[in-house]
């Protein structure tokens, strides 16, 4: 039991290396976008889902209801993770494991053969601790940047982070088309002064197109 937990904790080092810089950037951008240190730490400690946290801080100044809606929408992909994991591994302590089922924890849990709940909890402990501590480091760094009058510059970290996520997400021609359509929709809405609703409009449009394409593929028209 303890051995499996320690093994999980040891394997979480791969996740920690990836998490710390992202968590630092989250701490910085959350402060730059007007979140207090307590709110930034609470976001990391309670949500523990990077992409939705970034969406929350970037859209909070426009409408919190809208930010919650989009952040939750992005997290719907976790449903797929849970489905796949529950079929591949026989895990107990599901209420605890569910809290830490992030993208990276999911990948490592599925990759290893016959893991148990203690191993998964070890993975989650390492990932969660590094995420919250990284956020704290980011907040501390922001205090220094603020003293140097560079707080506004930190907002660029969010753009750089989203670009990095996009480059890594885009894998095939369909993804490139999704990016192109989203740019066209968002740019048009932004030029019309409706930039804040563009993520929702682009998402609805892409979802509609994707569902239609799936149906066409299923019916064998293409």
């Amino acid at each position: 039991m303890l051995r499996d937990y320690v093994n999980g904790l040891r394997d979480s080092l791969v996740i920690v290396i990836g998490y710390v810089p992202v968590a630092v950037v989250f701490g910085m951008t959350a402060r730059a976008f007007g979140f207090t240190p307590l709110e930034a730490v609470l976001a990391s400690a309670l949500i523990f889902a990077g992409m939705s946290q970034f969406i929350l801080v970037s859209l909070a100044s426009f409408s919190l209801v809208y930010a919650v809606l989009l952040a939750s929408l992005v997290n719907l992909r976790h449903i797929v993770y849970g489905c796949v994991l529950s079929q591949k591994q026989n895990l107990r302590k599901k209420p605890l494991i569910a809290f830490g089922l992030t993208d990276e924890v999911f990948v490592l849990s599925v990759y290893r053969q016959n893991i148990n709940e203690h191993y998964a909890l070890g993975l989650i402990t390492g990932a969660y601790t590094s995420w919250v501590l990284g956020t704290l480091v980011g907040i501390l760094f922001t205090e220094v940047a603020g003293a140097l009058g560079m707080l506004k510059d930190l907002e660029f970290a969010l753009i750089a982070l989203f670009i990095a996520i996009l480059v890594l997400y885009v894998e095939n021609f369909n993804d490139i088309l999704v990016v192109l359509y989203s740019v066209i929709i968002s740019a048009t809405l932004a030029l019309l002064g409706l930039s804040q609703i563009s993520p929702l409009v682009a998402t609805l449009f892409i979802a509609l197109i994707s569902i239609m394409l799936e149906k066409v593929r299923k019916n064998g028209v293409c």
């Binding site: 990836g18 810089p21 992202v22 968590a23 979140f35 207090t36 709110e39 609470l42 976001a43 309670l46 949500i47 889902a49 939705s52 946290q53 970037s58 919190l64 930010a67 939750s72 992005v74 719907l76 976790h78 449903i79 797929v80 993770y81 849970g82 489905c83 796949v84 994991l85 529950s86 079929q87 209420p95 494991i97 569910a98 560079m150 510059d153 660029f156 970290a157 969010l158 753009i159 750089a160 982070l161 670009i163 990095a164 996009l166 480059v167 890594l168 997400y169 369909n174 993804d175 359509y181 740019v183 968002s186 740019a187 993520p199 682009a202 998402t203 892409i206 979802a207 994707s210 799936e214």
Partner: protein, 112 residues
């Protein structure tokens, strides 16, 4: 000052995220069909991120302020160039930010 609405938003997302993770983990074997929706969910995620990047960049380019446009462009190019090589979004974001800050500081110094 802590904003109550910020805390409420954090709690709402936390609960929604937890429920999505828990229900799928608990009843995953009964929800196997949902796996087929993964392509759509993935496309939606790409659409949201692309849209957020686009609406962040457009005001920068509409300002025609070279002190902001040049560092932003260089920061974006560096982030694109490094993302596939480093495969660590956090480090890419930090390098992109450092590029932006460095170029912005140099341009400000030159203007002064």
């Amino acid at each position: 000052m802590v904003y109550v609405d910020h805390i409420l938003a954090i709690l709402c997302i936390a609960v929604a995220t937890y429920l999505a993770r828990y229900i799928s983990l608990r009843y995953g074997h009964k929800l196997a069909k949902i796996e087929k929706a993964s392509t759509v969910l993935r496309s939606c995620t790409i659409a949201i991120i692309t849209s957020l990047v686009t609406v962040s960049l457009i005001p920068v380019y509409l300002q025609h302020n070279m002190e902001i446009v040049i560092p932003t462009t260089l920061g974006v190019l560096v982030s694109i160039a490094l993302a596939k090589k480093l495969r660590n979004i956090g480090i890419v974001a930090v390098i992109g930010l450092l590029t932006y800050v460095a170029v912005h500081s140099v341009l400000q110094y030159l203007v002064i």
